[in-house]
Symmetry: C2
Subunit: 215 residues, 2 copies
Amino acid sequence: MEEKEISQAVIGRLPRYFRYLGELKDSGIERISSQDLSGLMKVTASQIRQDFNNFGGFGQQGYGYNVEYLYSEIGKILGLDRLHYYIIIGAGNLGRALGNYTNFERRGFLLKGMFDQDPEKIGQKVREIQVRPMEELEDFIDANNIDIAVLTIPKAGAVEIAERLAGTQVRAIWNFAHVDLNVPEGIQVENVHLSDSLMKLSYNLNRYMQEHQKA
Amino acid sequence: MEEKEISQAVIGRLPRYFRYLGELKDSGIERISSQDLSGLMKVTASQIRQDFNNFGGFGQQGYGYNVEYLYSEIGKILGLDRLHYYIIIGAGNLGRALGNYTNFERRGFLLKGMFDQDPEKIGQKVREIQVRPMEELEDFIDANNIDIAVLTIPKAGAVEIAERLAGTQVRAIWNFAHVDLNVPEGIQVENVHLSDSLMKLSYNLNRYMQEHQKA
DNA sequence: TAGATTGTTAATCGATTAACAATC
DNA sequence: TAGATTGTTAATCGATTAACAATC
């Protein structure tokens, strides 16, 4: 069933290519060589060509890559050519912040619902979306063709909610809870562990200061 | 000046070790072998031992690792044994969400100030912290021993603000703006590109669906 | 002591970079 | 055609895993 199986290292670089190509496109640039893109993005031209060739040849010898075409192809690879309906579970600060972040809509990610277990929060509005009680989760997912769930609840409840989601048609969880979810294969999980990221920054900060004998 | 230079792959795993060890500690477990930790964390025992040995031997043959000791050592490596004062630049939804996230305080990251250029936002409060105008940035950093700046502003202004920060004592930028900052070496940048993360999830979701011929 | 488990070296695997023939 | 630049193979580099001697 598997195709060639692209490594996650490559996938992880695609959004950045997509961003740079979008900017090139917006500034009216028609074509670009791997060499020029390399200079811009500070990665090797070799890596750029290898990465793109994982998906078949997008370029042309002697010419380079057509910016608009490449942009659109990478968008397709990333699944941005179709709509995704998502819900946010957890209407706390972070959940509401993400719910208000309208940029995702531009990429085809449409917020359909928000959920929380706190009676205080139920009924509150984020943009046009009303916060719903957790009891309605499964029915709502069914009725609204939800395929992505964003988890912005404390770690305590996250594992259990992930299990509930596994029983629905949701096939992707964007997990902001600071815990590793254990979901059946077939459900994709992308973790955003903010405190891990902060600790990494802290490590690099402290190491640099030590190496340079700061006060 | 460089020491052994630990790879970022290893650094990236430290916070997760730290989290698991904290949980083990909290449940009263005194010691653990790389093998048992391996089962728990779903990484190889070999990798665990290699990772820890980058920093010198924390274990003991025939015994394993003392949970409390290892936890505290990794904390030190991550720089969590000292206080970090940080500011948030950009008092929008995300900035306020992060400002309200009190868990960082427990790790020694103390929010000292918030900044925004929008006159509407200036004076607003997040916890005890009042949002300040951008003009006060440099003086405030100086006066309050800030070493970390969190950037939660739109990409348009981020590059310029990063340049301003480069002239201050700030030595680490936690960047949520969707743009690559160009700072002098010596300033650490950790990017959290949420839309990149969402696109990665989208890729994996779509690939899986295609492979499994969903409707 | 015998058993367990680390620390560390060696082997493997995968990802990145270099090189160059194919070709526009 | 000559020049440019890809696509792709080969070489290198780094990270992960396996193996085992050291040692608690």
